[in-house]
Symmetry: C2
Subunit: 200 residues, 2 copies
């Protein structure tokens, strides 16, 4: 029997909201989840691994992929390019796998346009003050970059209302559980179970 098509899930949130940590914990708790690895032209941060955190591309390689229509969405963000490779996602969804995209707001809206039944989740920091503390505490960026990220964060937070769900990352465990509950719940939606209901 053909498996049900998997869920395409988008997780966004400002830099410093901890979305990567929430997603990592959620994936530890549910090993069926697959993370789509994005491509980017930005330089790797310390500890980031090519093919795991991102595929790190030169601007030329990124442009070639774009021209070949190999990107589901792409965007420029703080001077760097980010994109989502299309082919593997389609394949995994058709195999019944749930695929998560960790992408920013502009890309999320492009995914929604291309996949109307994608599930869009926005990860909120507990407060703007806490977000700033986290960005300063990270100490990987100079103050002017922190300031730029805060301004971007305020804009991104204003876009949360365009998402289906919001989760508050007060606590990683609770946020990961909320994320996984949303996925379980979406699979129970009547609109996603027409074939099942036709059996009765």
């Amino acid at each position: 029997m053909k498996p049900n098509r998997g869920l395409l899930v988008v997780l966004s949130g400002p830099s410093g909201s901890g979305k990567g940590t929430v997603l990592k914990r959620a994936m530890q708790k549910n090993e069926q989840l697959e993370l789509s690895v994005s491509v980017t032209t930005r330089a790797p941060r310390e500890g980031e691994i090519d093919g795991v955190n991102y595929y790190f591309l030169t601007p030329e390689a990124f442009q070639n992929l774009l021209v070949e229509d190999g990107l589901l969405e792409w965007a420029e963000f703080c001077g760097n390019f980010y994109g989502t490779p299309r082919e593997k996602i389609e394949q995994r969804l058709n195999e019944g796998k749930d695929v998560v995209l960790e992408i920013e707001v502009q890309g999320a809206m492009k995914v929604r346009a291309a996949f109307p039944d994608a599930v869009l989740i926005f990860n909120l920091p507990p407060s703007l003050e806490e977000l700033k503390n986290r960005l300063i505490g990270r100490q990987t960026e100079p103050p002017e970059v922190v300031e730029k990220r805060m301004n971007t964060a305020v804009w991104e937070l204003s876009q949360a209302e365009n998402y289906d769900y919001v989760i508050v990352n007060d606590n990683v465990e609770d946020a990961a559980n909320a994320f996984l509950s949303i996925l379980s719940s979406e699979k129970c939606k009547t609109a996603r179970n027409k074939a099942l209901l036709a059996h009765f």
Copy 2:
């Protein structure tokens, strides 16, 4: 601070689909959930307790409550009357409690009309054959009542598409978890978090 208004949750499903068992397990796992106790004119089954399973009323007492506009919804079902007392539900929702109504299809549609943001969940048996086996196995009803309940079940199952969610009761534990995931997920819906988003 005023608590968020609680969720009003409706659980329906054919007799024999095991919705009562699923709900009981869900309530063991989440003690914050409150079950609204319905009123009925049907006779108690063995082991049923007045005020716990139902408030068992005479037809006259039921009618008095109805005339006083004390019922959120009511319906006749297999010759008996069932109703949902309104006042306590409003009070508990305003206190931030989640309230579950275990009611049949006609009542569920009336609740949706009165509370557009109620969450409607339909509990499916694994199959029609399994449903019939469960109804026969119960042995509390004569064959003609089983037959009548099966006919009603087929009609009720045709109404599942009007619910927000369906859960398949293959296994009580999984069904209870799915039920609780839906509640957690609904609380993350952006539309239910306007006040939170206004803080950013």
